[in-house]
Amino acid sequence: MTLINEMLTRPLDPSYAASAARRVAAGEPPHTSVGTVLVTLTAILIGLLLAVAAGSVRRDAPTAQGVRAELIDQITERRDVVEERSRAIAARQQEIAGLEAASLAGAGASLTARLQRLGIDTGSSAVEGPGLIVSLADRPGPADPEATGVDQGKVLSRDVFIVVNGLWQSGAEAISINGQRLTVRSPIRFAGAAILVNFRPISPPYEISAIGDPDQLPELFAQSVGGAYVKSLSDNFGIVTSVTAKDDISLPGATRVSIDRARPLGNGS
């Protein structure tokens, strides 16, 4: 309490009173001039301090904004490059397919059929057929402010690959997620707040399309771990899910199927 009383009742520096008393005792006036060199210099210093403090705050804000805008520009620019190259790859693949068909025209139907078969098996060819579409979307509305840590209503990469595994298990023959065809070399990863499929970021809603037997796939998926998981996602965490059977789904071909190093066993040099 002494400390608080001291602070509240005697806010003026006591040395002012002390030096005034000393001057009075010496027969001088109790106060000195306000306009001395010392006071003026200190006043200039204080003004400088105020201006510098205000200036340093003002100057930092635009710099941060500029850096942010630059980063956003870089992101959109790189994304455009990726889009453009993906389109180029798709065009080249089509070109290759055309050339293959042309050069194989004389080689017989069996070879063409085999090539098509391989394209479908590896996922490099676009395919269509009956199947199932499972869609997952983040819980609508703002994130729960009460929730600590991770937002429970957000779809995670784990959710996506449990559904994908459930679909494979239920006899799916080809799967793509938001237009990214899954092949033997397709990872489903989590990077920061984004889900990456085939090393490409995808954004919600996540639409997982699978081609498979129309009579068995929906039923088997509903019974599988994946189907139960989808149901628990919507029941427990408010994630918007839907499972729709469709007669005709078309999936794009994968853009990245080349294998350079792996060789058939026993065929080594």
Partner: protein
């Protein structure tokens, strides 16, 4: 009058020259500003009380700034920099307000 002109001159110099503040000095700027304001209001009150002393003013300004900066520096080293900054701001803020109240009593007798 002369100190007020000096203050204005200092502000103008700061705005015109725009000196670069080193990064390590930046956390101390707000504290230094609060300490400076405390010294200025204390001085104004002393003038009105008729007991102003130029040496006391300069010394109180410098010691305010140095002690406040030292407390914040110490806090930064101990990991409680923001708490100690808050402490400095509260103490000096209380002083500023009661000095301003005294100035107001002098000027408007209210």
């Amino acid at each position: 009058m002369i100190p007020a002109l000096g203050l204005l001159a200092g502000i103008v110099i700061g705005i015109v020259l725009k000196p670069d503040v080193p990064i390590w000095l930046q956390p101390y700027l707000p504290i230094a500003v609060i300490a400076a304001l405390d010294a200025v209001f204390g001085a104004v009150r002393a003038v009105l009380d008729g007991i102003f002393d130029d040496k006391v003013f300069v010394v109180s300004f410098l010691s305010n700034v140095v002690v406040a900066a030292f407390i914040v520096y110490l806090g930064d080293q101990l990991g409680v920099g923001s708490q100690l900054s808050t402490g400095v701001i509260v103490v000096l803020g209380v002083r500023i307000f009661s000095n301003v109240a005294a100035i107001r009593r002098h000027l408007f007798s209210a």
